[in-house]
Symmetry: C2
Subunit: 381 residues, 2 copies
């Protein structure tokens, strides 16, 4: 392939967080890259404090993709002269546990890790959260490179520095903010992603259009089928633009102190309730967000914030992306109850992030319980 083709399949997003700034490199799967990752890591180590003494690496990888991806990245860090060990982590949310964390600490200790030992997290959101928190809390902070391999992790959890594990009494209860020194996104890793998981990631992509960027929403409308077919050029734009949009929010509210980061929760008040009530696994996160975005667009229309036509338009795109636009297997009272426990709430009122127009949202507690019931009733199956 020609150099210009290759350049066309590469995007770089700079996340500007002062001394904790880092780039996200997005590569089309057909760009030559066997040594590119090594160049990227070398550059990141040289550009940061981490490089001066980095001699070792721990590659933390989802067991399901260990053979394809874990071994490949371990080979790359070995090629860079780093003494490398692989930690294989069982697939699934249950790995965000104190036990899995302690097992990563043990691997680091076996490796005689010091403060400059590099952690490379290869996998989806679970791996990023777990390996990220191990990196955040071992020796007061190790350099971290994220290699998200699911669409959801690429467009969401790989930007923002959130890391953490679950506690029996709360999700993500133990955690820290820890920015990576770089994020490497290889679109080829999406080739083998199961369709439901792929579509689940598209829900968050659609979300960025609604909350921040009407032009991006148009683009997704015009390319929905290509997106579903995993067209590489379309994916490159979807992923890199999503990262840029999330970075814009994170840059203004790195530690979630000002409340601005809350806008990322459009669709999520209802989604979290669905996930809670429908039970683990019935809805993937992105599927619940799909239905949640439809519900919250309807709620905005009910308040008169947007035209019903825009809510229809959002619902249509949710459906075209083959995401659920209805709520199944959930009891109304339990949904309302779950929403009342959402951590965004204040003074007992349920809070939502609702669209004011395409590309702009606001945090509000304006909807009454009756409004919510009315909207949900129309979506229940």
């Amino acid at each position: 392939m020609s150099l210009s083709d290759r350049a066309a399949l590469t995007e770089r997003i700079d996340v500007d967080l002062g001394p904790r700034s880092y780039p996200i490199e997005v590569r089309g799967g057909h760009a030559a890259k066997e040594t590119d990752f090594e160049d990227f890591v070398r550059e990141r180590l040289e550009a940061t404090w981490a490089g001066r003494g980095c001699r070792k690496a721990l590659v933390v990888c989802d067991a399901q993709i260990q053979d394809i991806w874990g071994d490949r990245y371990a080979r790359h860090t070995t090629n860079l002269g780093l003494k490398t060990r692989i930690a294989e982590v069982p697939t699934g949310e249950k790995s965000k546990s104190p036990e899995a964390l302690i097992s990563l600490y043990d691997r680091l200790i076996d490796l005689e890790a010091d403060r400059h030992t590099l952690v490379v997290a290869v996998g989806g959101g679970v791996i990023g959260d777990l390996a990220g928190f191990a990196a955040a809390s071992f020796n007061r902070g190790l350099p971290l490179i994220m290699v998200p391999t699911t669409l959801l992790a690429q467009v969401d959890s790989s930007v923002g520095g959130k890391t953490g594990i679950n506690h029996p009494r709360g999700k993500n209860l133990i955690g820290a903010f820890h920015q990576p020194i770089g994020v490497w996104i290889d679109l080829e890793s999406l080739d083998t992603l199961p369709p439901r998981e792929f579509r689940s990631g598209l829900a968050e992509v659609l979300k960025y259009g609604v909350i921040q960027d009407a032009v991006f929403f148009d683009f997704l409308e015009n390319n929905a089928e290509k997106a579903l077919a995993r067209d590489e050029t379309v994916l490159l734009h979807l992923v890199s633009r999503s990262c840029r949009l999330k970075a814009d929010v994170v840059e203004k509210d790195e530690l979630e102190h000002t409340g601005l980061r809350a806008i990322l929760n459009y669709g999520h008040t209802v989604a979290h309730a669905i996930e809670n009530v429908a039970g683990y696994g019935a809805y993937l996160h992105g599927e619940a967000v799909g239905a949640g975005m439809v519900a919250e667009a309807r709620l905005a229309a009910r308040l008169g914030w947007i035209e019903a036509a825009l809510a229809d338009r959002i619902e249509r795109l949710v459906r075209r992306l083959e995401l659920p636009a209805t709520i199944e297997g959930c009891d109304m009272e339990r949904l309302i109850g779950a929403m009342k426990h959402d951590k965004k709430n204040k003074l007992g009122r349920i809070r939502f992030v609702l669209p004011r127009k395409l590309g702009s949202v606001e945090l509000t507690d304006a909807p009454t319980e009756d409004d919510v019931r009315e909207v949900l009733r129309g979506m229940m199956r």
Copy 2:
């Protein structure tokens, strides 16, 4: 007492870390203060993101001082309208454990802590490290106010944001940097500190003079007896100047990335070896630092970096502060072996922070093993 007396017994040190800046307030024990702490906390909450939703507080306190200090600070946070719980932590290094950490998480969960719940750490270094790490890692970071009650914690661990717990295979292996929103130092808490612990803190005070401030070293020489007698005016200067000097270093190297923070390790290569070899409890940390500073001053003289007269002067002050200037109960080969495992080392050479002149030090691996043996031999009893 008059207002001017009261002002004279107060110092405020501003630690400038950009958005993570915070003040250290040092109060003489006779300054009226029953409500001052409440004013301080109110001001700190208002000045930071933490204030917007702070409704609860967990006061973490060393069991030994629970009756005097823990209850008092819990009363203060209660007076501020915060729903307050106390977590009593057994005295001693063994409380820097995963079990103690989990027990603090449980207390926070029982309190239904959210991201704005205030953690107040009342005690020495162990409490600061443990409660600080709980604050760092619960819900991705809770606001923290440190109330160090030992001299060592006041002049050392309360500045710099280091938090952490021990792992069976390494001290402070699990930890993070987490800056407090404020540090409150009440010199009255030193009244009941056992003499050995008090002198142990003076070792770190002396250290700041050697590494950064010759005038401060002079002051300590001129006021050694008053310092030992815990004269409040002298203590106020010793504590506040030590905090300022440590803050100067931390401001330039917050996350220990540039290596500048290494200068704080003067006396510590030998001290850590003594602590390791003599066995837990034989030397308090500051006592080992006393002997370590003498050894490393001698080493600098041996290299021709300083005059022998300056090494004598440092040793004299160590002795006047009733700190050990000799090494007892240690085997030479084991000391050398321990030094070879110091984490400051590179390429197998033992590294030291040695004085170039009074008030200035440098990290070096210039001393040979023979130099070290020769110096230690002269100090062994």
